[in-house]
Amino acid sequence: MNDAGAPTRPMGMAEALRDAMRIAMRTDPTVFLLGEDIGVSGGFGGGFTVTLGLAEEFGRERVIDTPISEGAIVGAAVGAAMAGSRPVAEMQYGDFVFCAMDQVVNQAAKMRYMSNGSVRVPMVLRLPVGASQRGAQHGQSSEAWFMHTPGLKVACPATPYDAKGMLIAAIRDDNPVIFLEHKLLYGGKGTRKETAQISLGTEVPDGDYEIQLGTVAVRRAGRDLTILANMLMVHRALAAAERLAESGIDAEVIDVRCLVPLDMATIEDSVRRTGRALIVEEDHLTGGWGAEIAARIADAAFSNLRAPIRRVAGPDTPIPCAPALERAWVPDVDRITAAAVALLGAASRHLTVASE
């Protein structure tokens, strides 16, 4: 039970996502799933068990195993969405979406506009992202590509609770939604357990609820700086915040769980209070979502800034595979903490100069 008295149970993110699809499919017969290996009897429910058991409940007609044809998967989702269905398409790994970029960028994103508002494209494209010791072609976080494309909503939850509520909302949304899921947050079990996964077995309501797309969530209130992060990085930022607290630094952590639409009001409000912004993203530094948010903060709250906006991100290289290399590549708690301390240091110098 949660505070409101609704029944809850502990769920990992994979289970929460499965629950979201189950609820959406039970409440709306036009919802169907398509992707590779998602419903095969005796199979594994997609790359990360998310759709396990759904084919048994809803039948192979609504849980469609496709050929390895990413372009056709997304294209068929676009066509089905325009014809009255609400398809949920899955890329087995987010990296494979690049095989389908025409359908995502030229078709899904533009059909509403090109029809002058006559058609709707209510589809979800689920992308498992994040480095997980699989190397350069199975670990990218591609949200910036989609954030740059008008017409796509971009969701990237960090918790099972959000994952469920946001996926239900995404499926019921009348726009195409790119839905990123971090592989280390799925909470896989047994042989499906990811080496470096983190446990998020939090209480999640059993029932039907939606989390509005276009909102961010303040995960930790603080006064000295604002740390903005998404997906896995939210958890690393929270760990860094605890460490900073030991040094008397009070960090606010905002989970940027949706990039499009982007809740800049909450972000600006936080940065105006703290005067400092640190953006943490697993994506490559250059042209990442952090760059966009930094520019918007500078635009809207420049006079409130007491220090330069800083970013901690993956370097501009493909993602390496060896555990030692990958650990060095993905922003970790040490790097986030150090960047925060440096930001405070720069700020205090700035304040010193200003007061003279």
């Binding site: 056709a72 294209g75 676009v78 066509g79 969405a81």
Partner: protein, 452 residues
């Protein structure tokens, strides 16, 4: 009254165009559509036809001079226009210079393939079935004829306006391919969906789209079918199931597949049609889409308009097969070759495919062998095509063929044909008038409809 002849926008760069020669002497009379002059652009040597009939009057820009597109180079006065028969057959490309060696053997008149023969038989059968309503059959044939004439008149009229610099943006025209659009769409219901291409006018008109709205769209007006956001390559009329036409080659193949899958899931007996060209059969979306449609038994019909050229590249340079329909076998669906210059054959093949799809037996690939008389897009004179190839296809013109059949087999009076043609011309001119008189879209509307 004198009508200025302007230098058309025919080159690749918009630079000056050189006048090679006037094909008509000053003060001589020319028919609309006849060769008026030969020019040399940065692309090639091109024949420019008269946008209207009349007497050529000066001052004429002299041969050898270079002139900017849009500049007035002479006049056509219409004092004699009424006496000039209108030629609706466009000239062969490549005029004014030696014909390039043919890349492919001119295919026409080809012996009928087995599939075409089969299609013909089906037409005869359908005729027998309709025989209790022979008048109904002729009525439908007439309707198909009228639609094909409307498409031809529309495209030709726009071409003439384009030559005068009066059409904004780009143009991809379908003269010669009318029988494919009309044959297929005649086999469809209003609630079936059609996904067209960057060459959409035939498909749109055949599906019953508003002529005014698509014309206004080409003119970039607020009254356009998609408010000016689409342009010539993105025409639509959702009320008749004509979805936004797609300018990414082959992209509509998986999309039509998805719509078809959705219909099946919803328990509807609607079908989705994807039109595409020969060039699209070499893109991944074709192969992925057909395979998915086949394995899903999707009620989709894939109509390949094989007009031999992907822009300027002959299909023979891009594939080792002759019949694109053969690729259907690789995906386990029927592949049908049909004479795309014969509307009855196309209709018969489409009807079979649609019936199959509606019955839940899956998709069909129809390859219609056809030809586009004009270039790939505006300003493409088609210099890569041999004159005799062009002539051979035009000798099989689908509209002329149907006209002869209507007059010959069904004793249709010539006056009826004239009436149909006049009506089509009037419709086209009214649509253009509507487009020209329509207001520009408000700049603010550019920001609308990104999201629901």
């Amino acid at each position: 009254m004198k009508h200025p002849v302007v230098m058309p926008h025919l080159g690749a760069t918009g630079g000056d165009v050189k006048i090679v020669e006037w094909r008509i002497a000053e003060r001589d009379v020319v028919a609309a559509g006849a060769a008026l002059l030969t020019v040399e652009t940065d692309k090639s040597v091109v024949e420019v036809e008269a946008f209207r009939g009349g007497r050529l009057t000066g001052p004429l820009a002299p041969p050898g001079s270079s002139v900017a597109p849009g500049a007035i180079i002479g006049y056509l006065s219409d004092d004699v226009e009424a006496a000039i028969p209108v030629a609706h057959v466009p000239p062969a490309p490549n005029a004014g210079r030696a014909a390039a060696p043919p890349i492919s053997t001119p295919p026409a008149p080809a012996p009928l393939s087995q599939e075409v023969r089969a299609a013909r038989i089906m037409v005869r059968l359908s005729r027998v079935r309709d025989s209790k309503d022979a008048a109904g059959f002729v009525e439908r044939l007439l309707e198909a004829f009228a639609t094909m004439v409307l498409i031809r008149r529309y495209e030709e009229h726009l071409y003439q306006l384009f030559l005068q610099g009066l059409v904004p943006g780009t143009l991809h025209q379908c003269q010669g391919q009318e029988a494919v659009a009309v044959g297929v769409c005649s086999a469809l219901r209003r609630d079936d969906l059609v996904y067209s291409t960057h060459r959409p006018v035939g498909h749109l008109i055949a599906k019953g789209a508003s002529l005014e709205a698509i014309t206004a769209e080409i003119w970039g007006k607020a009254t356009g079918c998609v408010g000016g956001k689409g342009g010539q390559m993105h025409l639509a009329d959702f009320a008749v199931g004509a979805m936004v036409s797609n300018a990414i080659v082959g992209a509509n193949i998986p999309i039509a597949t998805g719509s078809a899958m959705s219909f099946r899931l919803q328990g509807l007996d609607r079908v989705a049609v994807s039109f595409f060209g020969d060039g699209a059969s070499n893109i991944g979306a074709f192969h992925e889409g057909l395979n998915l449609a086949a394995v899903q038994d999707a009620p989709a019909i894939f109509v390949c308009e094989n007009n031999l050229y992907a822009a300027s590249t002959n299909f023979a340079l891009t594939a080792r097969i002759t019949d694109i329909a053969a690729r259907a076998a690789a995906y386990g669906m029927p592949g049908v070759v049909v004479d795309g210059m014969d509307v009855e054959a196309v209709y018969a093949a489409a009807r079979t495919a649609v019936a199959r799809a509606r019955a839940g037996r899956g998709p069909t690939l129809i390859e219609a062998k056809t030809y586009r008389y004009r270039g790939h897009s505006r300003g493409d004179p088609g210099g890569y095509r041999a004159r005799d190839e062009h002539a051979a296809w035009m000798a099989r013109d689908p509209i002329e063929r149907l006209k002869q059949r209507l007059v010959g087999d069904f004793a249709l009076p010539a006056a009826k044909i004239d009436e149909i043609e006049a009506k089509a011309q009037a419709k086209v001119e009214a649509a253009v008038e509507f487009a020209q008189q329509s207001p520009e879209p408000s700049p603010d509307s550019a920001l609308e409809h990104v999201f629901v």
